[in-house]
């Protein structure tokens, strides 16, 4: 079946893609700049078509715990919010990670800290990739750079989430969430009828009871569990790294950027090359797992790297860890909701590496 062409906001695309992906439940609370997700779902009213449950919760805390409950039933459930709301969800998120539940959490990032601003930012990278909640856990983090990817990553997220029994975060930003672009939508899928064997759906006589919990007061057993998580994360690191490259083959300088910044940097590469500077771009699509190995390889061939993020410098730490001292690494990024321009990036590239 053909994919349908539409002009949509990133937020709308997530919502429509969720319906088409056969998602079972969405639980959310309004917050700019992502409220269109729940608004679109309420308007589309998939309860009448696919049977998808859409519920406005009393808070982000309630919403993420609804996701816990739904995911524990083996259902495909999701929530979305923006930075302050995602901070509120941290306890719930670590519970979900600790109970090894698959789900999708969309963060349409805005500037912080605190109430901050409602404009696009990329300052939740640490929270998303290192764990904003307590304890040793990781989300799988996907960073869409277009409305198309906001749609496509819904399906991908659930695929990964169920494959690894791990929560997935789609780390978008206000620009991608609010902008309209062309998007090709997949045809409607049916909601899945398969029930994972661990799901709590009422204990039939044919199996032992299923228990979903993140608790184990016995340190020895808990450590075994922690090690199991580490092994899982290592497997994810091995198998699920995704990135995109742009003119890196002969590049002397590599820009590393994701999401909106990556779009900007693609233009910066063109601009730089038009000025005779051999720049290239590596765009991580997965932020966890991070393309550590590829960046390390590239570090062997280039003179330096520049991490471009709309933040005070967060992903740059992962770039540094990947490069491990081989070449100089710098950070450049605007903050407060300001999107970097391609020209600024080229200026910084020149001043850091070429002098002047």
């Amino acid at each position: 079946m053909e994919r349908e062409l539409r002009l949509m906001k990133g937020n709308e695309a997530v919502a429509e893609a969720a319906i088409r992906a056969g998602v079972d439940g969405y639980f959310g609370y309004p917050i700019t700049p992502q409220t269109e997700i729940i608004e679109y779902l309420m308007e589309a009213n998939p309860a009448e078509t696919t049977g998808m449950v859409v519920l406005q919760a009393e808070s982000e805390v309630a919403a993420i715990n609804m996701v816990y409950g739904g995911a524990a039933c083996g259902k495909r459930v999701m929530t979305s919010s923006s930075s302050p709301g995602i901070s509120l969800k941290q306890e719930g998120i670590t519970y979900i990670a600790g109970a090894e539940l698959p789900c999708l959490i969309v963060n349409v990032v805005r500037g912080g800290p605190g109430l901050g601003t409602i404009q696009p930012a990329q300052s939740d990278y640490f929270q998303a990739t290192k764990g904003g909640g307590h304890g040793d856990y990781h989300l799988i983090v996907l960073a869409p750079a277009s409305v198309q990817e906001m749609a496509d990553f819904v399906d991908l997220s659930f695929e990964l989430a169920f494959r690894y029994r791990n929560p997935v975060m789609m780390l978008s930003d206000g620009a991608i969430g609010q902008m309209m672009e062309k998007v090709y939508l997949s045809p409607q899928k049916e909601r899945s009828k398969t029930v994972p064997e661990w799901a709590t759906t009422g204990k039939p006589s044919t199996r032992e009871r299923n228990i979903i919990t993140s608790l184990d007061l016995d340190p020895n057993r808990q450590e075994v569990f922690n090690q199991k998580l580490i092994d899982k994360y290592n497997e994810i690191r091995e198998k699920e790294v995704r990135f995109e490259e742009f003119q890196v083959d002969d590049a002397e300088y590599i820009l590393v950027a994701y999401g909106t910044s990556a779009r900007v940097c693609q233009k910066s590469v063109q601009l730089a090359r038009s000025q005779g500077i051999k720049a290239g771009l590596l765009r991580p699509i997965t932020l966890f797992p991070f393309p550590t190995q590829r960046i390390n390889e590239l570090a062997g061939h280039v003179k330096g790297m520049l991490s471009v993020e709309m933040s005070a410098g967060q992903m740059v730490e992962d770039v540094l860890l990947s490069v491990n001292g081989k070449v100089p690494v710098y950070h450049f990024g605007r903050m407060g909701g300001i999107v970097t321009t391609p020209e600024e990036v080229v200026e910084v590239l020149k001043s850091k590496f070429i002098g002047g």
């Binding site: 002009l7 409602i118 909106t260 999107v339």
Partner: protein, 185 residues
């Protein structure tokens, strides 16, 4: 080809939908488009704006600070965006309610009194389609037939009866610009 446009005015003036029609028209012509509204509570204050980019290439950032074309529908927006137009760029504005007119010399400025024209045509709502028509006369990046297709796509079915009126408005906008351009010659 890449055209970077800002459209700005009061909240109620249909700024966002003008942008949407433009973007949809671009899609109909098989181009890459992005449509990026100002969002959030500032809209409450009364102003709204949208950045539309239409291009034959993949679009980098949807949020930019300088524009090829600015379509301006009120004084505040004029004050805010006049200096964001690239040298050699275009400013189209509706004279209605404007007290301080644009002053830049390094851009081409068109005044289209669309509000007036629209009420003359007895459909005050189509004033922004008139402006759009004018713009496309100046920068014929999209064919009118694709604008009509775009209109069909972006308007809910129940408003499709308005399309003929909008078509007229597009043409009227073209005419106005033609006249201005003649005068400028």
């Amino acid at each position: 080809m890449t055209e970077e446009i800002i459209i700005a005015g009061f909240g109620g003036q249909g700024v966002l939908s003008m942008g949407k029609i433009m973007a949809y028209s671009g899609v109909m012509q098989d181009m890459e488009v992005s449509w990026m509204p100002s969002y959030g509570p500032e809209m409450r204050g009364g102003t709204a704006n949208v950045i539309v980019i239409i291009s034959t290439e993949r679009i980098s950032s949807p949020i930019i600070r300088h524009f090829d074309t600015a379509i301006i529908l009120n004084q505040q927006s004029l004050d805010k965006f006049e200096n964001s137009i690239k040298t050699g760029g275009i400013l189209i504005y509706d004279g209605n309610g404007i007290t301080r007119h644009p002053e830049r010399k390094d851009i081409t400025i068109y005044r289209v009194d669309a509000t007036e024209e629209a009420s003359r045509m007895n459909s005050p709502k189509i004033f922004n389609t008139i402006v759009l028509g004018g713009f496309l006369k100046i920068k014929p990046i999209i064919r009118i037939e694709n604008v009509i297709k775009g209109l069909k796509k972006s308007l809910p079915e129940r408003y499709h009866n308005l399309i003929p009126m909008n078509e007229k408005a597009l043409i009227r906008g073209e005419e106005i610009i033609k006249e201005i351009q003649k005068a400028k010659l």
